[in-house]
Symmetry: C2
Subunit: 326 residues, 2 copies
């Protein structure tokens, strides 16, 4: 048992959160994680409509009676997204924990707090975390350079970011990005975090509703199998390193400051995550995956994974670290 | 007291090494660190000739009777560097610990081992660490993305790199890059490291033989005040973020794949570290500094710094971490 301010706040057994991942974080995964004693999170925008989200929350509730949450990510998008309707659907669904991410979440934080919902805000910089704290969120999930997907533009790693965030904030901080095993959880706790958020690691679990071929790619991958794209647009994203991603990165380098999204539209269009995850075309499309791939060696159940990580972290704390100070 | 395989191997009190830094790692700093119970390291190539190195080692010996080492970095250079003569000078000086870094250290490792010298090899990738272990080095200092100076091209952070290195190697591993405080030392030990290497942090100490203005810049700086340059040349370096560095980075981005060192020669020539460190022109030149600047808040003596870090790490291990598992 690892009891922290975050486990107490959320009423969960273990200080491990499953991050909201577009197309991946559906009811099966969230329920698997919550049943394993962690905090499962579904992604609102994976559902085509707010009504579908309400149904998905209800479906998750048939699979677990433990706390779980919903992620609402606010990012600029080509197609207009009715964020406010999704936020209302989250409230109507009766969910009591929300993970916000992206830009200007203030309006939505107000809505959630008024509905008695606990809010974890995910961000990549201490200054954004301070803003979120001022807006009234209950905890911060701080995303280091290690993370998959939107990594921000600062490139600060968890080793630096976590202690700085902990010192700057009063509310609990959990570390996010690159986490997948017990030593890392112990390290995060040493740095002052009250738990960790894991995304990519939970993709390689039995419950993750994605193709087995993608899970196997993560098992086979090493720590060097992710790369950053879209930096030139200040919309940097960490994706799995395959031929498509390498080609996007190459074009971006070649164009330098003149790079435009149109330069890679032929590679990106129709090739984003959903098709990869559903069809297993992990070599054909662009999909988010973090540096943590280097420490992913198997595809356990969520419960097995969570219990192993917590048990390994406890062993590090009670065994190795104690023996060093003895 | 934190006793590890590394402290035992090197015969030092605390698991903290001061990394070899060109122009900075002179006798004063190495002696200060070793007198503080850490492992001080002088940089061979900071000395203009191999003979000067022998004199500098002798000078260091007048300041401390504790173990200290010499760094030998093998990198391509415009002016030819007599690495072999420096290596022989290290042996002749009677120093018993060497830190190697850079490319193809095999020949030098053989020389040092034949002379009964303990060798720590610093590198940025697990595959390079495995090669060094096969070549017979005694320990690895693995350099994460956080580090100042030559950061490599893989961009793997310590959170991932340390556990992977520890799992892959039999010899002791110390973590390097971004370290500057006690929670981070505790975290490194949790990840499996047997200690940490600190470079930039030791620049902001009383003993560091550099201008006070540079030390103050590090105290004032935040975690975002470093940036990477020379990536296009696959010779990536993390330097302090000032106007010169920003301009180099801007030109590099603008040129993209066509970037050549000649494009920034007017900015780099005569503006590298030595003048910055000696004259305090921290805004005028290019100088190495890591992400750790964000956690540097004062200019203590080496001994004060080392004892504070170890004491804070012990407090984390015996206090916070124990209470979480209780």
């Amino acid at each position: 048992m690892l009891k922290t301010r975050f486990t107490e706040l959320m009423g969960i057994e273990h200080p491990i959160v499953q991050g909201g991942m577009q197309w991946v974080a559906r009811a099966e995964l969230a329920a698997g994680v919550s049943n394993g004693g962690g905090l499962g999170i579904m992604t609102a925008l994976t559902q085509p409509t707010p009504d579908d989200l309400i149904k998905e929350v209800a479906r998750c509730r048939t699979m677990t009676d433990k706390p779980f949450g919903v992620n609402l990510t606010i990012l600029p998008s080509l197609r207009p997204i009715p964020h406010k309707e999704y936020a209302q659907a989250i409230i109507d669904s009766g969910v009591k924990i929300v993970e916000t991410a992206g830009n200007n979440p203030g309006e939505f934080i107000d809505m959630f707090k008024a509905a008695g919902i606990k809010v974890v805000h995910k961000c990549t910089a201490v200054r954004h975390a301070l803003t979120a704290q001022r807006l009234g969120v209950d905890a911060i999930s701080i995303d280091g350079f290690e993370c998959a997907g939107h990594v921000g533009e600062d490139d600060i790693t968890n080793q630096i970011l976590i202690p700085l965030a902990v010192d700057a904030l009063d509310i609990p901080v959990i570390g996010s990005g690159g986490f997948g095993e017990g030593r890392q959880l112990a390290a995060a706790l040493a740095l002052g975090a009250e738990g960790v958020n894991m995304g990519t690691r939970f993709m390689a679990t039995k419950e993750a509703p994605i193709h087995d071929k993608v899970k196997q790619r993560l098992v086979d991958a090493g720590e060097r199998d992710s790369l950053l794209i879209m930096r030139a647009l200040r919309n940097t994203s960490r994706v799995f390193r395959n031929e498509v991603a390498e080609e996007v990165a190459r074009i971006e380098k070649e164009k330098g400051l003149n790079f435009k999204i149109e330069d890679v539209a032929h590679l990106v269009a129709g090739a984003r995550g959903r098709h990869v995850y559903d069809d297993g075309d992990s070599e054909q499309g662009m999909w988010s995956a973090g540096m943590v791939a280097g420490v992913i060696h198997d595809v356990p159940s969520c419960k097995e994974l969570i219990e192993r990580i917590v048990s390994d972290a406890e062993a590090v704390i009670k065994g190795r670290l104690q023996s060093l100070v003895a």
